[in-house]
């Protein structure tokens, strides 16, 4: 399904990204010693205890950990969303394309979002606004970069981009609302939207977790191909190790707000160093023993659930 059509997506490709690259280390995103805490009624809660993470251009990096480990807040700090929450206390350096995010004000951070970095959310259907057409939302995204883009031109461009994510009838989809389309279709739209402006960084927060496994696999493959076409780096947030292994070049394992292990995907999976990584891997459900479980054909408890009792008298065994 995930036909990759490099030709149509490349014209806006990585043209404008190049000039921004003045980081000596070559890292697109560089997070150093990031701390985060929230002030609440019950006091100060620390969420991140000094995270360091870096992503090179075009690199696919996975951030893996259990729920509540701090994956999503890290993504929201990179996007500059959490900085606008008044209860959040953030320290540490986040450098994106050589710019220190903490030195930017809210509107400068906003200018980066949707243009040079974008995000894909868990559930594509609820991430699309139900009262605006796909076309409206898509053209709005395109206008983030080119405000003077005419309506017709924006629609044409959107249709073209939908075509690159294997949507067969873009004109119909553009006129539709998210609730009229399938989850897989919406996910394709979200991927096309996220890459429409050829951002240099894409943050994917457990993409497609709400979809069924087959569709999720298809759309992940599509995303994989699309980011390669656009030369977009990805910060891939997931708890699904199987998917991570397929998708990422590099893995960071996060546990309770700390990075406990990092390295190339291959080496982390082959020889996990930290006990938590091993525990995380052990948590992946596996089919063992070659097929169905080992149970005697005539074991006493095997047939129990199959019986229907004719008489309701207690203690009567059939």
């Amino acid at each position: 399904m995930s036909a990759n059509r490099p030709g149509s997506g490349e014209d806006t490709g990585s043209v404008k990204n190049g000039s921004m690259e003045r980081n000596s280390s070559g890292a697109l995103l560089d997070i150093r010693d990031l701390h985060l805490g929230f002030r609440g009624y019950t006091g100060y809660t620390k969420v991140l205890h000094g995270i360091s993470l870096s992503i090179n251009r075009g690199q696919r990096v996975a951030l893996v950990g259990e729920s509540g480990s701090g994956k999503s807040v890290t993504a929201r700090i990179v996007l500059g969303l959490l900085q606008e929450t008044r209860t959040a206390r953030i320290t540490g350096d986040v450098e994106f394309q050589g710019n220190d995010m903490s030195s930017l004000n809210a509107s400068q951070r906003r200018a980066l979002r949707g243009t040079r970095m974008s995000m894909i959310f868990q559930d594509p259907t609820s991430a699309l606004n139900p009262v605006f057409t796909i076309g409206y939302q898509f053209t709005e995204v395109l206008r983030r970069v080119d405000e003077k883009l005419s309506k017709e031109a924006a629609y044409l461009r959107a249709a073209e981009l939908l075509h690159t994510v294997s949507i067969p009838d873009p004109a119909r989809v553009l006129d539709a609302y998210s609730f009229q389309l399938s989850g897989g279709m919406n996910q394709r739209i979200i991927i096309a939207m996220a890459l429409a402006n050829s951002p240099s960084l894409l943050i994917a927060d457990e993409p497609g977790t709400a979809l069924d496994v087959t569709v999720q696999a298809q759309t992940l493959q599509l995303m994989h191909d699309m980011v390669a076409t656009h030369n977009t780096a990805v910060l891939f947030i997931s708890h699904n190790l199987g998917v991570v292994r397929e998708f990422a070049d590099r893995v960071y394992v996060i546990y309770r707000g700390r990075i406990v292990e990092e390295g190339a995907t291959q080496s982390v999976f082959e020889s996990p160093g930290h006990a938590y990584t091993r525990a995380l891997m052990a948590a992946v459900p596996r089919v063992t023993g070659g097929g169905i479980p080992d149970i005697d054909d005539e074991s006493a408890d095997f047939h129990d659930p199959c019986f229907t009792h004719d008489s309701p008298i207690a203690g009567t065994e059939s």
Partner: protein
Amino acid sequence: MTPVLRLLARRLGISLIVLIGVSMLVFGIARVIPGDPARIALGPNASTEQIAKLRASLHLDESIFVQYGHFIKDLSRGDLGISLYTNRPVTTDIAQFLPATLELVLVAGVLMIAIGLPLGIWSARFRGRFADHIIRLVSLLGVSAPSFVWAVILMLLFAYYLPLFPIAGRITDTYTIESITGFLLIDTLIAGNFQAFLNAAWHIVLPAFALALSGIGQAARLTRANMIETWDKPYIEMAQAYGYAPARIANRFAFKPSMIPSLTIIGLDFAAMLGNAFLVEAVFAWPGLSRYGVAVILRKDLNAIIGTVLIISAAFLIVNLIIDLLIAFLNPRIRYSQRDVK
């Protein structure tokens, strides 16, 4: 048939049934309350024969079912009967007094939407901050007192102690404006008399505000609550992740989905103003349907009571119909509520 047309047809059908029900109810109630309309109309010196004659001409000596039959027969010809109070056809009376009331209610409705919704949006956008606290306090105040109390307060403050606005009436007597639509704000413009238009607008400010205040409060509170609920939706975070300006996210991406549940209540509020207008009109001596309505109720002027109630009900239903269509327009999930999309 498109879903919207079907919705319209269904709503019209329901409205008609409601109107028939209302007519039966009012017809019954008006005849059950004690007092003989004919005797009240003719006064204490009327002879028994005169009263009997009037009763016969009003069909009052027949059974209530036959009377209702007469009423429906007349109604189908657009005849609501003669008012015993003004001795004119009820339709003529209503045509004279209704526009003033409608004008007041419409202006109040516009105020409710034009002030209430932005207040709600602001409040939601800056929730927990100073502006939010002020707006919530003010809107709670607006909701917590009935409009006739506001009418008295506003009149005392801004017409009596601070004579910024006229104390009563629709327009200063020196202007003579030919009645075309019955809406002074429109008639003055048709007449090209801008001075008179300003005068009429100046007169309508206080009564319209008094009528609108509780609606403004209600609209602001509803909009705030719905917007805050919408704010937690993933599509708002998505809009933030795409870097749209906060004002645009609030006014467009969050407001439109939030508006849909609020609209029904706002429509009901709007319709409720028709009833509240009676008391506000009384306070500001507004020459609308209220004075007529109160007078005919006290005189047990059967035809006029039924006519007034029916007109108010019809206006109520029309407002609700418009709101339903508006919701269908705003909410694609209603517009495409059937399977055959495209």
